[in-house]
């Protein structure tokens, strides 16, 4: 065998191994972010974890082709966001069908009656009514503890835009909930 035949497979193997290590690192760094973004949409921990896992699997498929891996977190956020929205829409369709079948709304649970729960529910509903651009900024701001620079980096939009969208989102929520 010639020299090239020895070198090429080894370099390919090492590239794969390096990618695997890098992905593993991203998985460790970004798991919480992914789950929280999904939670922001789904408000259900099990569903959020499921969506976050799916997002990581999809990210893994295309990880080698990602040109700028420094943008992995922003990329992942967008994947999670889309998957979570898809899931919640599917859930709502299913719930609507079930409700129509029952022809009677389910009685409120004990927790729903509690004031804090009621506020959370109303807040979640109000958030859901926001346009997507405002909603993702609000969600990420909540996750990143209002670090607007981080949100700006994740979404790839200017920090001023993040600030104005966040303000608009809070303004609308205040109007709905006041």
């Amino acid at each position: 065998m010639d020299a090239a035949a020895h070198v090429l497979p080894e370099s390919l193997v090492s590239l794969d191994a390096a990618l695997e290590r890098e992905f593993e690192q991203r998985l460790a760094d970004s798991s919480m972010l992914a789950v929280r973004v999904a939670m922001g949409v789904l408000r259900n921990r099990a569903d959020a974890e499921d969506v976050a896992q799916e997002a990581f699997v999809r990210a893994y498929r295309s990880f080698a082709g990602l040109r700028d891996r420094e943008k992995f977190r922003g990329w992942l956020v967008r994947i999670v966001w889309r998957l979570a929205l898809d899931r919640i829409r599917a859930q709502k369709r299913r719930e609507r069908r079930e409700l129509e079948a029952l022809r009677e709304p389910a009685p409120p649970s004990v927790e729903d009656v509690a004031a804090s729960r009621e506020f959370q529910r109303r807040l979640a509903d109000a958030i859901e009514l926001l346009p997507e651009k405002l909603r993702i900024v609000l969600t990420l701001a909540g996750i990143e503890e209002h670090n607007l620079a981080e949100v700006s980096q994740l979404l790839g939009i200017p920090e001023g835009t993040v600030k104005s969208r966040l303000h608009l989102a809070r303004q609308r929520l205040l109007e709905v909930l006041r």
């Binding site: 973004v37 958030i127 209002h146 303004q171």
Partner: protein, 243 residues
């Protein structure tokens, strides 16, 4: 100004916006608007906390392991897909190649048959003449697609059938009936062209047992044979018609 006109300004202030002097004066003087501002500030804080609570979640300890499992499952499924389909594709391709070969080369799977007008046919398995002894004519399959002729195959010819033998129906063109060694090719072609132009009498160059040759020369068509090894000097380039 009435309280209603401060509606938006109070909300803006509750969200942390600047209060202008007019709003400050109004709030200082109006208990209702002061209460509303306090309520909205509390609500704004509750919204911020609520958003954080909604999104607050820690991945379970098994999260990363489950992702790894799913990635591994997917990789295995892909590998299985390939394992299943690659042999199927290979088998299909092999069948297609076989069918194409049978369709395009039906004559090559049959034994070559002599023709009535091409008297000098050859059968490589039945012996050949030594190199240097030119065959009666370079008889090759007419109008056929290019064939690869091993250059080491020697010029051969089959002696012409006796004139008294029963005529056979003309067979389909088969394999080249005379295989010409690479180093003899150019000479045979040259001779053939000279004969076609009437510059050479076929009888003058034919072996004594092959006569007459005029008909044979006229019936000849030289197919475009592509030898594996380079031809001798003067070989015709591939693609040139050799009629």
């Amino acid at each position: 100004m009435s309280c209603k006109s401060y509606h938006d300004a109070v909300a803006e202030a509750a969200l942390g916006g600047a209060q202008d002097a007019a709003l400050r004066d109004h709030v200082a003087a109006c208990a209702a608007c002061r209460d509303e501002l306090a309520r909205l500030r509390a609500l704004s804080a509750a919204i911020d906390r609520g958003v954080e609570e909604i999104t607050h979640a820690e991945p379970s300890p098994a999260f990363a392991a489950r992702v790894r499992d799913r990635v591994a499952e997917e990789s295995a499924a892909r590998a299985y897909w390939w394992r299943g389909w690659v042999p199927a594709f290979a088998g299909g391709a092999a069948v297609l190649v076989l069918v194409a070969w049978l369709l395009w080369s039906p004559a090559e799977v049959q034994a070559p048959k002599p023709t009535q007008e091409l008297a000098g046919t050859s059968d490589p398995s039945k012996g050949s003449e030594p190199p240097g002894k030119t065959a009666s004519a370079p008889e090759v399959a007419p109008n056929r697609s290019p064939r690869v002729v091993p250059s080491k195959q020697l010029a051969t010819h089959r002696p012409r059938r006796e004139s008294g033998s029963a005529p056979r129906p003309a067979p389909q063109p088969a394999l080249p009936e005379v295989l010409i060694a690479g180093d003899e090719w150019s000479q045979v072609v040259k001779l053939y062209r000279l004969a076609q132009r009437g510059q050479v009498q076929a009888e003058a160059v034919a072996p004594p047992d092959v006569t007459p040759l005029e008909a044979k020369f006229q019936a000849l068509v030289i197919a475009e044979l592509k030898p594996i090894a380079p031809l001798g000097e003067g070989a015709l380039p591939a693609g040139e018609p050799r009629k």
